[in-house]
Structures are given as C-alpha cells and as structure tokens.
Symmetry: C2
C-alpha cells in the first residue's frame, strides 16, 4: 500500500504511474485525495491552460493533437484533459479520437487523460480542476482542456482556461453556427477548422461581424484563424496566436484576473461539494426523512416548506456570519 506522501513524491520525481494513480484517487474522491491535493498545491500555478471547445464534428481532437505537436516542437511539455460529461449517447468517439493521437501518446512529454466522472455535485468541474493541478505540479508547461461534448458544464470548465479556443466549421448548418449569447465572450481565439470546405470565408466574415458588434471585449482583438487540422494547415499560426494571447495577458492584469476568477469558482465549487455531502449524510441518517417523502407524495406536506425548515440552521449561521464584525 502506497501512502499519499509516497505517491506525491513519486509524481514529483517523474513517475507517470504515480501521477496517473493520483488522478484516479482525485477523480473518484477517494480517501486521501484532499490530502494529496493539499500537498501538491504549493507547486502549482506554473502551467499555462488552454481550453478548446466547439460543436461536435468541428475537429476538436485533431486540433488538440496538432497544437500539442506544435508545442512539443518548441520544447514545451503538454498535458491533455479530454472532458466528456458522461454523455449518455456516445461511446466510440472518444476512444477513436485517442487512437488517432497514438503518435503523441507515445511521446513522453505528453500525458493524455479523459475525464468523464460526475458523481457528486460539481463533480466534473472539480475533477477537471484537480487534474489540472496534478499535471501542473508535475511540471507540464501547457495543459489543454478539450471538451468532447458541448454542454454548459463543459463551457464552464473551458472558460476557466487562460486562453480559450472556440472552434467553428463551415457547413454545419445555421442552427449550429448560431452561437448563443454568452458564448462569444468565452473565445479568446476563434478557429475556423476544415477551412478547405466551401463556405469557410463566409464563416470568417460572420464571426468577424459578430465580434465587431460585441465590442465589450477589452483591448484584445480576438483573432480568427483558419485551419485544416487534418493537414496541419494553419496550426503554426494558431500556436503563435496562443503565445500572443499569453503575452497579452501577462503584459496586463488579465492573467491574474482570470486566475482569481478561477480560484473563486473553484472555492465555491469545493464548498458546495462539501455541504452537499453533509446534506446527503444528514438525510441518510434521518429516519424521519422517508416519512417526510411519503407525506410530500401524499400532498400532506409541500417540499418547499420542508426544504426551508431543514436549511434554517444554515440561514441562521449565514446571518451570524454576515452580522459579525470584520476587520
């Protein structure tokens, strides 16, 4: 039986096995996971995090693959986290993508991990954030978070990256291209992949128009990069834009602001996860809870009043907290 400290030290001394074990520990919220993260935490904060998101069929995995190779050429090590929120209808896609990336998975400077955990509240974003930290502490220079699905959860996850790539593709139909309000803002770099297809220039024009109509983007002028990931076209240009955005963020307060925002979200997520665990335990041991459920189903009690009653102590605690003097 390996101790947590041994695992952590093993990961620090370069054992990929130890690192993979740590991720599994953390992903499954096993005993010792928090202890391990507490030990790792001081060594994190050095990696640069890139989020990659876009609709299905936009070639996100191939792009991730090619960006990885480009970063490797420049001597950077890369960790890849492929986020798949247990989409119930799928299966083969993720595996297929990973097989395509065989040449990069044979490269010791690259570590690939898919994340599909859900489990408890906020489980996926927590597992992703924790895995980022392990790869970061382990010394990966770049961490790419690639989403497999397209749900709000994954968007929330990638938008916590330092630089986020938003992938479009010609010919997916208007209903796919129509980016809903709120999604434009998360893209620091727009990529039109499969740009050898008909309609690529139209997509670029439309994106440019949307960006220009949405000026609340600070001083960063969001670039639109055309790529054909399968042929490697435009990848060097895209990698250059990532570096450019990184220099832009580091030049001002942008990076710190992004990282503060990320820390805040993460802390909230951790607190909610903890509290949720207490609630589940509390109701598990509450022998009267089954009775309450029966009364609710029989319409003798309403669930709203019951929820208010159970959370009263929390409300009281919150009130005390707000009232107490701060310094």
């Amino acid at each position: 039986m390996t101790s947590i400290a041994e695992l952590v030290n093993g990961a620090f001394s370069g054992s990929v096995r130890a690192m993979a074990k740590l991720i599994t520990l953390v992903e499954n919220e096993m005993p010792g996971a928090v202890e391990a993260l507490q030990q790792l935490y001081p060594r994190t904060g050095r990696a640069y995090i890139v989020g990659i998101t876009g609709p299905p069929g936009s070639g996100k995995s191939t792009l991730t693959d090619k960006i990885t190779k480009e970063l490797r050429k420049k001597g950077s090590t890369v960790g890849i986290i492929a986020v798949d929120p247990t989409s119930p209808f799928s299966g083969g896609a993720l595996l297929g993508d990973r097989l395509r990336m065989q040449d990069i998975t044979n490269d010791e400077g690259v570590f690939v991990r898919s994340m599909a955990t859900r489990g408890t509240l906020g489980g996926l974003s927590r597992a992703t954030a924790d895995t980022v930290k392990i790869l970061d502490a382990f010394g990966k220079d770049f961490i790419l978070i690639e989403t497999v699905g397209v749900g709000q959860d994954e968007v929330d996850i990638v938008k916590t990256a330092d630089t986020t790539l938003l992938i479009s593709v010609p010919g997916l139909g208007d209903e796919i291209q129509a980016l809903k309000a709120g999604i434009m803002e998360i893209g620091d770099i727009f990529v039109v992949n499969k740009s050898d297809r008909e309609g690529a220039d139209r997509v670029v024009t439309e994106l440019r128009l949307m960006l220009d109509l949405n000026p609340a983007r600070g001083s960063w002028r969001t670039p639109i990069v055309k790529t054909v990931a399968t042929l490697g076209e435009g990848i060097a240009d895209l990698a250059e834009k990532i570096w450019e955005h990184r220099r832009f963020l580091q030049g001002g307060s942008g990076l710190l602001r992004k990282r503060n925002e990320r820390a805040k979200e993460e802390i909230l997520n951790l607190i909610e996860g903890e509290v949720s665990k207490y609630i589940h335990k509390m109701l598990k041991y509450d022998v009267t809870f089954d009775e309450v459920i029966e009364q609710v189903v029989a319409r003798k009690k309403d669930p709203y009043s019951y929820a208010q009653k159970v959370t009263e102590p929390f409300a009281k605690y919150y009130q005390i907290y707000v009232d107490q003097p701060k310094n």
Copy 2:
C-alpha cells in the same frame, strides 16, 4: 401589480396567461415563486408524466407532436416541456421544432413551454420540476418532458417521469447507438423512430438483445415500438404502450415508488439550492474572501483547507443532527 394569490387563482380558473406568468416567476426564481408553489402544491399529483429522450436527430420533437395529437384524440389535455439546457451551440433547432408543431400550439388543450434556464445550482431540474407542478395543478392530464439536448442533466430530468421513452434511430452510426451503461435502465418503452430507414430491424434486434442481457428490470417487459413519426406510423401503438405501462405501474407499487424517488430527488435539490444561495451570499458579504482568493492564487493558502474551514459549522450541525435522538 398582480398578487401571487391572484395569479394562482387566475391559473386555477383557466387563465393561460396567469399560468404562463407563474411559470416565468418560478423559472426565474423571482420573489413569490416559492409562495406560489406552496399554494399550488396540494392540487398537484394528478397528471401523468412522460419523458422523451434520445440522441440528436432522432425526431424527438415530431414524436412528441404526434403523441400529443394521439392523446388529444382520446380527450386528454397535454402540457409539453421542452428542456434545452442552454446548449451554447444551437439556436434554431428548438424554434424550428416549435414551428412544426403549430397545429398543436393552436389547440387550447395543449400548452407548450421550453425550459432553458440554468441560473443557480440544479436550476434546470428545479425549473422543470416546478413547471411540471404548475401544469399539473392547472389540470393537464399528461405532461410530456422532451429533451432537446442529450446531456446527463436532461437524462436525470426525464428519468423522473412516470414513463420514459428512449428513442433510437437507424443509421446514426455505432458510436451514437451504443447506449452507455446506466441509460438502458431509464427507458420504459424503446422507440425506433424513422423505422422506414434501412437498418431499422437490426436496431430492434440489437435493442432486444441488450434488454435481454439486462434482466434486472422487474416484471415489466420493455416493449420496442417502431415508428415513422413524420408519417404518423406506429403512434397509436406507442400511445397504447404508454397506457399499458401506466396501468402496469398503477397495478403494483411502481408508480408510488417512482414518485417517492422523484420527491426525494426534488427535496435534495431544493435543499442544495437553498444552501448554495446562503453560501454565495455569505461569501459576497465576506470582505476577507477577496483576500483569501489572492492568497490561494499566490499559493500561500490552498483552496481545500479553506473550503473545509468554511464548512466546519455545517459539519458540526450535521454531527449534532446525526447524534440527536430520533423517534
């Protein structure tokens, strides 16, 4: 300004406008929402709830449309909730679907509402559950919950229905057909839509095989119904299977068990939502929180220890709760 009581009474006396207003109130968690739900709650529990889910392109909306017409023919009133978890890449699909259903939206016995709210924790499932209750109290005989996306969130929502239809379709490729572990269990009726396409019989055979290999399904023998929703083929048969499943559940303890499970999930969801609100407020008023974030970003503090510290009072409360004598 209309009072909550007036809105509730308006809805009871048949005002569609009042009902729509109530839904908006509840969806946006506006003041008075909980009060309205408390007033409505005793009049709920009569509607029969059908969940409809499946991969994109399987024709869920057309099926929902045709099932609605079939139920209307037999004199039942119908409420439809189309759940779209703010999928960031989409837009036109939902509207297109709704336009297609024009003839049913002109029918006064049918009420259609789409749900795309997220907002706070568990926001989507809470909004859906609350809307179900409003339509239920309003006297709709059937409530159809149709998912637009395919995420875990929506599956969690539809599986709380009394009867859940799981839609498949030929020719979507193996990676789509491969239903992940956990998804088979939620289907009470399997539908192979677009069954005039090549490969429909193979899909039926595969589903039957999967069902037979998965015998932990109680005494209900999950039927597989072939439909061509656009032509109305198989819809009468499908409606019959829904009635059959309803009779099956009502004949045993199945319906009560499902409804107990649903009430339990809902109560947990409500409690977590309440507590989450307190945490957000607490940290909003905590002037030291910004400092904590900075220290976390500077790696002087780790977020895990901080989250544990903040949740200590909750832990203490939980401990008291578990220790106190029950009767």
